[in-house]
């Protein structure tokens, strides 16, 4: 089964890289979410897939009475999933904040290429209220 899963991991990686390279920041976050899934599957598959019983000790017995799936990668993946979730959430918010200041999500556009300002000042945010959001969306849809 591993070779097939390996192909899926490769596909997830390729798709994630392609999205991240696009230069559109939303797609970048999508790519990051995909790559997280890919990594989790990678760790999972590296711990082998022959055994399909969950790693639980049945009530009544004190030790495992039958071979079970590898518990170690599972424990690693479990925390990785939650951390990946926190990471994606933070990136989403960062994305929004970037958009509020620059008005664009295209990393190849001018505001991202700007030199540092001499006086270290911050640019004024474009978005302060809900009205600003609506206005910007209207403008971008025109």
């Amino acid at each position: 089964m591993e070779p097939l899963l390996a192909c899926l991991v490769g596909l997830l990686f390729a798709a994630a890289l392609y999205l991240m390279l696009s230069g559109v920041l939303i797609k970048f976050v999508f790519g990051l979410a995909l790559i997280g899934n890919g990594i989790n599957l990678l760790i999972f598959a590296a711990g082998r897939l022959e055994l399909q019983q969950p790693p639980l000790i049945h009530p009544g017995s004190e030790i495992l009475s039958h071979p079970v799936a590898n518990a170690l990668p599972q424990a690693m993946i479990l925390t990785a999933i939650v951390i990946g979730f926190a990471m994606v959430t933070f990136l989403l918010v960062l994305l929004y904040r970037t958009y509020a200041y620059t008005g664009t999500l295209d990393a190849d556009e001018a505001p991202f290429q700007e030199e540092w300002r001499e006086d270290d000042s911050c640019p004024e945010p474009l978005i302060r209220t809900q009205q600003d959001i609506k206005r910007l969306r209207r403008e971008s849809e025109l």
Binding site: P54, L56, P59, L78, T79, V82, A86, T89, V93
Partner: protein, 133 residues
């Protein structure tokens, strides 16, 4: 959202979801579940609550600030490591109370509860902030 059916159903659902979360948390040491999944279940329940009733209602309902909840969780997790220190064992070594063959309370359980509150607080903080801005 202004759907009466949704609102009524939500009241019932959120309660059920939270009870389920606590169930998952408590059985986690022996069956699938545990602090992480329980916190995510509770977080989903609160997400439903926030979407139907709005963040103000949710804040009023939980009373505590979400940062307090996550700090409480981290604190519990750290406290769970202390008993071991007092008898000279490494920090966070498991420590159980009760009969030797079936102890009913151990520091790993306290730790798991700490994980639950820490993650739940984190989810709530982002959820409420996202709904409010």
């Amino acid at each position: 959202m202004h759907s009466v059916i949704l609102k009524t159903a939500t009241r019932l659902m959120v309660g059920l979801i939270l009870v389920f979360a606590v169930y998952l948390l408590l059985r986690g040491h022996h069956e699938p579940g545990g602090g992480f999944s329980a916190a995510l279940v509770a977080g989903t329940g609160f997400a439903l609550f926030v979407i139907t009733e709005g963040p103000g209602q949710v804040r009023a309902a939980i009373r505590l600030r979400s940062t307090t909840i996550s700090l409480l969780g981290l604190g519990l997790a750290v406290v769970a490591g202390l008993p071991a220190l007092s008898i000279g064992q490494p920090f966070l070594t498991g420590f159980w109370w009760g009969p030797a063959n079936a102890p009913w309370l151990g520091t790993p359980l306290i730790f798991d509860v700490g994980v639950f509150f820490a993650v739940l607080g984190a989810i709530l903080a982002v959820l409420l902030a996202l709904e409010e801005f």
